[in-house]
């Protein structure tokens, strides 16, 4: 069953004013439980507006959002319930840390869910372990940590609520390649371990190709495509025309294909490109 479903979802900013703008237009989407979905689209394509509907931070101008089969706005007073089911990690989440210690910061969400102290403790330690935070970090002030570690604390704080859906908006922005690989690896481990749904917003098609099973491409407030990774890469040229960065390796394979060589234009990993080229060379 679909964990997230939208029905003719529309959202208009500044309705009735001179700045009226439709940020998402007529979105009909079904995301299955347990998927790892990458979301791409250039700035202003509606990605952020869309994900803020999934946990009720924005209320649709028209249309419906269903989480686990429930219309989340049926009883607006109960919207908070869906915020625990769908956890959202914003861009630069380390700016939202505020507690005295790392432990307390991670515990903030689960404590607000009304869990017992023991349950909170179990979840904090589990989440900290997932993102690679050690015992020695837990009593420190989050502000003493490095940028990458602060970000891990913020992500752990959302993971500790064990949401059915974890949404991360550009979790690796500003990190170096090693920090990026580590955080994405941790998110992948969380996904595998808990079999939860993960939505990852990223500008990097390379990262999405490496970690996601499915890709949602947003363009001009609409869903351009929602399909598995291979199928989306088959549209590499159109995606490049939207101003999105197609991986170098895909561009190389498309160029070789255009030269008449039998290389798949849907290639998105260096390893696969290497294998195909070796196979062609093997024929000599």
């Amino acid at each position: 069953m679909a964990i997230i479903r939208t029905e003719n979802l529309n959202y208009i900013y500044g309705g009735g004013t001179a700045f009226e703008k439709s940020a998402v237009t007529n979105i009909n989407l079904e995301i299955e439980q347990g998927e790892f979905v990458g979301i791409i689209g250039h700035t202003g394509s509606g990605k952020s507006t869309l994900i803020q509907h999934f946990n009720g931070l924005l209320r649709p101008t028209s249309g419906k959002v269903y989480i686990d089969g429930h219309d989340i706005w049926e009883k607006p007073k109960e919207i908070r319930k869906f915020r625990f089911k769908v956890g959202l990690v914003f861009q630069y989440p380390e700016y939202q840390l505020f507690e005295e210690t790392v432990y307390k910061d991670i515990a903030f969400g689960p404590t607000n869910m009304g869990l017992t102290k023991d349950e909170v403790d179990e979840r904090v330690l589990e989440a900290a372990e997932l993102v690679g935070l050690k015992d020695k970090h837990m009593r420190k002030s989050p502000f003493e940590l490095s940028g990458g570690q602060k970000r891990r604390v913020a992500i752990a704080g959302v993971m500790a609520m064990r949401p059915d859906v974890l949404i991360l908006d550009e979790p690796t922005a500003g990190l170096d390649p090693r920090g990026r690989d580590m955080i994405l690896g941790e998110i992948q481990r969380y996904h595998i371990q808990n079999k939860n749904t993960v939505l990852l917003v990223s500008h990097s098609m390379e990262d999405i190709a490496r970690y996601a099973h499915k890709v949602l491409v947003m363009n001009r407030s609409e869903v351009f495509l929602y399909d598995n990774v291979e199928a989306v890469f088959a549209h590499a040229r159109e995606i490049a025309d939207m101003g999105l960065a197609v991986p170098q390796i895909t561009r190389i394979c498309i160029a070789l294909r255009d030269m008449g060589y039998n290389i798949s234009p849907e290639t998105y990993t260096v390893e696969s490109a290497k294998e195909q080229i070796l196979a062609l060379l093997g024929g000599r």
């Binding site: 250039h42 700035t43 202003g44 490095s146 940028g147 990458g148 922005a173 500003g174 990190l175 170096d176 390649p177 090693r178 920090g179 500008h203 390379e206 101003g243 999105l244 960065a245 991986p247 170098q248 390796i249 561009r251 190389i252 160029a255 070789l256 030269m259 060589y261 260096v270 390893e271 490109a273 290497k274 080229i277 070796l278 062609l280 060379l281 024929g283 000599r284």
Partner: protein
Amino acid sequence: MENIFECQSITFSYNIADQDKVLPVPILEDLSIAVRPGEFVAVLGHNGSGKSTLAKHLNAILLPQGGVVYVNGIDTREEERLLEIRSHVGMVFQNPDNQIVATVVEEDVAFALENLGVPPAEIRTRVDDALRSVGMYEHRLRAPHQLSGGQKQRVAIAGIIAMRPDCIVLDEPTAMLDPRGRQEVIGTVQELNREFGITVVLITHFMDEAARCGRVVVMDDGKIILDASPREVFSQVELLKSVGLDVPQATELVYRLRQAGIELPGDIIEVEQCVTAIGRLLKGS
């Protein structure tokens, strides 16, 4: 010609309070580098390798604790010449929202000039020139919050250009931008370097940006471990990976094919070079 920057064995540590003790944490260790006028230098290194600390030495935001930094021949410790140093070197930081002060684009670009007491008529010319050179002239009357991230960074760059500096130091200016915004900013900086001969020092985590510069400096643990052309630097695939960096995918592909015994040049860093080299190989097979 005289170097625009010259760092002679500089050292720098931050003091970190740990309970009741104050511990010095060394950031830069005996680092020397010289940059000539007109160069376009990329600085790579993982977080904490000392890149930003080095950048802040280049316009006297930080002063070296050991060694000397000369900017256009001026020792940065000469406090009374601070304004002169900063008029030679402008800095652009990561977050565009932290750098914009005014509510209208052209006023923001004029801000520093007004503070320097430049006559109004000249401010007008310089602001217009600066906005044209970053392609933001038609947006001059807009409010900064209506702009995209890439446009805001170009406004920040225009604010620097208006001061007519010899050099711009950019500390991860594209980290918060989408691919289109990144392209706008890097394109603008390249043009300023090419057309006006402005020296550029670009700190970045994006290997494809570094691949387009004239010279790449790689830092690790407060030291410079590589300093050469992009082709030479990116051919050191293993060394770069060992210090937590990446190489462009074109380089990675060629590296893996070479490991598999295929004969290809070891200094490929761009898509076109890669396609040409592999195409030639396939044609022969």
